[in-house]
């Protein structure tokens, strides 16, 4: 009887099928607008959100989605009685909608925060700020991402 070859035609087919299975079942790597809506609902409930007072700044074109500079500035006097409590940065396209949340106090002087974030593609980011009186304000900025994070290993 002849020795069984290590790589038979059948074995090769099985390997092929396995690879297809792995590629076809990735962990969820994109979100949709509905995920953003859900994240917004989790954070702020059903309260009305007004446009304005929040200035979200991002580069119009981000060459590298792994690190995109972002800054958020909220128009507020920042006194003991009237200040910004927190601001949430939300993405409609990242695997997780909530990117970061910054908390301020009256000692902050001005409601400004900046950082670097990951973006999984061209999208319009949203920043929602909660004031000390409970009102919500939002600002938006679109950025074109040439090299997306998450897609590249």
């Amino acid at each position: 009887m002849t020795a069984k070859p290590i790589l038979t035609r059948r074995r090769l087919l099985e390997l092929g099928a396995g690879t297809v299975f792995i590629t076809a079942s990735p962990i969820k790597s994109y979100a949709a607008q509905s995920d953003l809506d859900q994240a917004r609902h989790t954070l702020f409930g059903e309260r009305p959100i007004q446009d304005g007072r929040v200035t979200l700044k991002l580069p119009p074109i981000a060459e590298n989605g792994h690190s995109v500079p972002l800054s958020v500035d909220i128009d507020s006097p920042m006194t003991e009685t009237d200040y910004v409590k927190r601001v949430a940065i939300l993405s409609p396209r990242n695997p997780l909608s909530l990117i970061a949340q910054y908390h301020f106090t009256p000692q902050s002087g001005s409601a400004y925060a900046a950082g670097r974030i990951r973006l999984a593609g061209t999208q319009t980011l949203e920043a929602i700020a909660e004031m000390s009186d409970g009102t919500l304000w939002s600002g938006r900025m679109e950025t074109v991402v040439t090299l997306a994070a998450c897609v590249v290993l």
Partner: protein, 106 residues
């Protein structure tokens, strides 16, 4: 791990709004990447940043996988009293990194 770099202007005038920068070396592994063999690389991120002045919280940030590696956080502070600024980072397992800087007022 954990190289921390802080930028705190000092001395500053009383009432001046100053810009503070805090950077920490951390991979902020998102948990969405795959390794060379297709295996998922486990999530390992910092989840919280806090800045205290003399024990009073003045600024905090909740960090999620969407924050880039080696997070740099810039924020403002109205300099009213001198003291020690303490910067604290906490990761998903509760491990803590801390550094402090003096705030001098002229």
């Amino acid at each position: 791990m954990a190289g921390i770099r802080l930028a705190v202007p000092s001395p500053v005038h009383q009432g001046e709004i100053i810009e503070i920068k805090a950077l920490i070396q951390h991979a902020m592994e998102s948990g969405f990447r795959r390794g060379a063999r297709g295996e998922v690389i486990e999530r390992n991120i910092l989840t919280r940043f806090e800045c205290d002045l003399n024990g009073t919280l003045i600024f905090a940030a909740d960090l999620h996988p969407g924050v880039a590696a080696n997070p740099l956080i810039t924020f403002h502070l109205k300099a009213m009293e001198p003291g020690t600024l303490t910067f604290t980072w906490t990761d998903q397992n509760g491990e803590i990194w801390q550094d402090s800087a003096a705030l001098e007022i002229t």
